[in-house]
């Protein structure tokens, strides 16, 4: 479904991603594991096309020079230069890190905004579906998103990404800042998304422990370089991963 070939991303002269290649197959859950500043968010921004927008805006104000090499193929089509809104139309939807919600808008309005590119009737239907998935949001529907707890905001953020109608859902650190209980809830939810809705998921995470059991394939990033790949089980059994991420 998605293949990334020899991707390199520079911010000025700093190399954020170095010769990164990966493959995501239809119906898989793929994980990108790495610590802070490993290049996970840069990868997500490159895949969602946000980096193109960042590049244009930085260039306009004479800011940081952002350069991207390599190719990104989505269902065989080169989307390296496709603008983010076009990528959303194709079904690539990113849920950014740190619960990206619109704080001044109500929960319901947030969901309506997320359906910007879809028909009104589709949006209404999708909102009902995400309320089924996250029943906690129903009671909070008219509350301002800024007043929700971190876990509730993350629920809303994922719900919003779902309303946008993803075929490939990119989740940037979905477990960040959540309690272990909440983390488990989200991991289950991601699994059921794939199993029940058939959505392909690519997630990046620094908490390897809850994530590794559910991923079909994983990539480990360190300082922008790919250091390890393998199935979830392979990675769990790997002594380096055990030492670095499980502390054993």
């Amino acid at each position: 479904m998605l293949s990334v070939n020899n991707l390199m991303v520079f911010f000025e002269n700093a190399l954020a991603l170095n010769d990164f290649s990966m493959e995501v197959k239809e119906g898989q859950i793929v994980g990108v594991i790495g610590s802070n500043s490993a290049g996970k968010t840069t990868l997500m921004n490159t895949l969602s096309g946000l980096i193109i927008d960042m590049r244009i805006k930085e260039k306009r104000k004479g800011g940081e020079r952002i350069t991207v090499y390599g190719e990104v193929l989505f269902r065989g089509e080169d989307i390296s230069e496709t603008r983010p809104n076009e990528r959303v139309k194709k079904g690539i939807v990113l849920c950014r890190e740190r619960h990206p919600v619109f704080p001044e808008s109500s929960v319901y309005e947030n969901l309506k905004i997320a359906g910007y590119l879809r028909k009104k009737s589709q949006v209404r239907e999708m909102i009902l579906q995400v309320f089924d998935l996250f029943p906690a949001l129903v009671d909070l529907k008219s509350r301002k998103a800024g007043f929700l707890s971190g876990g509730e905001q993350q629920m809303l953020a994922i719900a919003m990404a779902l309303v946008a109608g993803p075929k490939l859902l990119l989740l940037d650190e979905p477990l960040l800042g959540l309690s272990p209980m909440m983390q488990n809830l989200f991991v289950d939810c991601i699994k059921s998304l794939r199993n029940e809705s058939g959505i392909t998921v690519l997630l990046s995470e620094q908490f390897a422990r809850p994530v590794l059991p559910i991923i079909d394939y994983g990539y480990v990033l360190e300082n922008g370089m790919l250091t390890l790949t393998g199935t979830g089980q392979d990675l769990m059994d790997n002594p380096e991963i055990k030492a670095a991420y499980f502390g054993v």
């Binding site: 969602s48 946000l50 927008d53 805006k57 306009r60 104000k61 004479g62 800011g63 603008r83 983010p84 809104n85 959303v88 139309k89 939807v93 990113l94 849920c95 950014r96 990206p100 919600v101 619109f102 704080p103 001044e104 808008s105 309005e109 309506k112 905004i113 997320a114 359906g115 910007y116 590119l117 919003m160 990404a161 946008a164």
Partner: protein, 290 residues
């Protein structure tokens, strides 16, 4: 006397709110302070006059053309000028202010000066409240101000473009992830702001003559209201309009009418000294703190 001051103060407040709505809308959504706002206001006034008196089109058609042209100018300014300097606040201000001066002074150069440049009123006549007589046009202005405020409230909450406006205003990058094109929405916000300036011009200008100086005055008044209320805050704009509107009317009635303009300038100076983010910017301050 007091009843008259109260009624005219209210109408003056409505005029100020009407002037500030468009400026505030553009700034709140795209972050661009459109200093060509006064010029677009005056341009719309003159354009309506020209289409009616030089070309001979009917009044309503002229009004329609003016509003459309103002919106188009807003779009053009955004795509041709603003986009090149987007993100550099000072350059945005200088570019739009320069353009504004050019537009206004071109009218002066082509001799659009004098008392013949007036727009017709929508409704003729007046109505008495006790001993105070208010002409229908002033009531019409108040009505339009209230109607536009309500329209904007519902538009931004229940239409696709309105929701995109609110999304971009809150978090541009997250809005992008849902397929909202920030440049397109920014340009639309500029067009909307310009169209609101045109509507304001068409209902307010019949009270006097269309003069180039009026453009500068409109810009100062819109700025004063937005600075006092807190840029980007609609509630702030409404409260600031009432405060400055009544302050101006009381100054005109109980002191000297020519001190009226001082009120806006003093309000700008005082607010910028004491609370630079404006009266109703609690949310913004909270954001800055976290």
């Amino acid at each position: 006397m007091l009843l008259g001051t109260l009624i005219y103060g209210f109408i003056n407040s409505c005029i100020l709110a009407l002037l500030a709505l468009g400026f505030n809308l553009t700034f709140g959504i795209s972050g661009v302070a459109n200093f060509a706002y006064g010029a677009i206001y005056i341009f719309s006034g003159f354009l309506t006059w020209i289409t009616m008196n030089s070309i001979g089109l009917p009044y309503l058609l002229s009004v329609f053309i003016s509003i459309l042209c103002a919106a188009l100018i807003g779009l053009l300014i955004y795509y041709i000028v603003i986009l090149r300097v987007k993100g550099l606040a000072l350059s945005e201000v200088m570019a739009t202010f320069g353009l504004g001066i050019a537009i206004m002074e071109l009218f002066r150069y082509f001799d659009f000066v004098g008392f013949k440049y007036t727009l017709p009123v929508f409704f003729d006549g007046s109505i008495g409240f006790g001993e105070v007589y208010v002409d229908y046009q002033r009531l019409f202005i108040a009505l339009i101000a209230v109607a536009l405020t309500l329209f904007l409230y519902f538009f931004t909450r229940h239409s696709k473009i309105g929701l995109a406006f609110r999304a971009i205003a809150q978090d541009e990058r997250t809005a992008l992830t849902f397929g909202i094109d920030s440049d397109r929405i920014g340009a639309l916000s500029m067009a909307f702001g310009a169209a609101l300036a045109a509507i304001a011009a068409i209902v307010i200008l019949p009270l006097g003559t269309i003069a180039v100086e009026g453009g500068y005055e409109v810009l100062i008044n819109a700025l004063a209201v937005c600075i006092v209320g807190g840029l980007g805050s609609t509630v702030g704009i409404l409260v600031a309009s009432v405060l400055i509107g009544y302050a101006q009317t009381f100054t005109a009635n109980y002191l000297e009418p020519h001190w009226m303009m001082l009120v806006s300038l003093i309000a700008i100076a005082v607010v910028l000294t004491i609370k630079p983010s404006g009266l109703f910017s609690r949310q913004k301050e909270l954001e800055e703190r976290i």
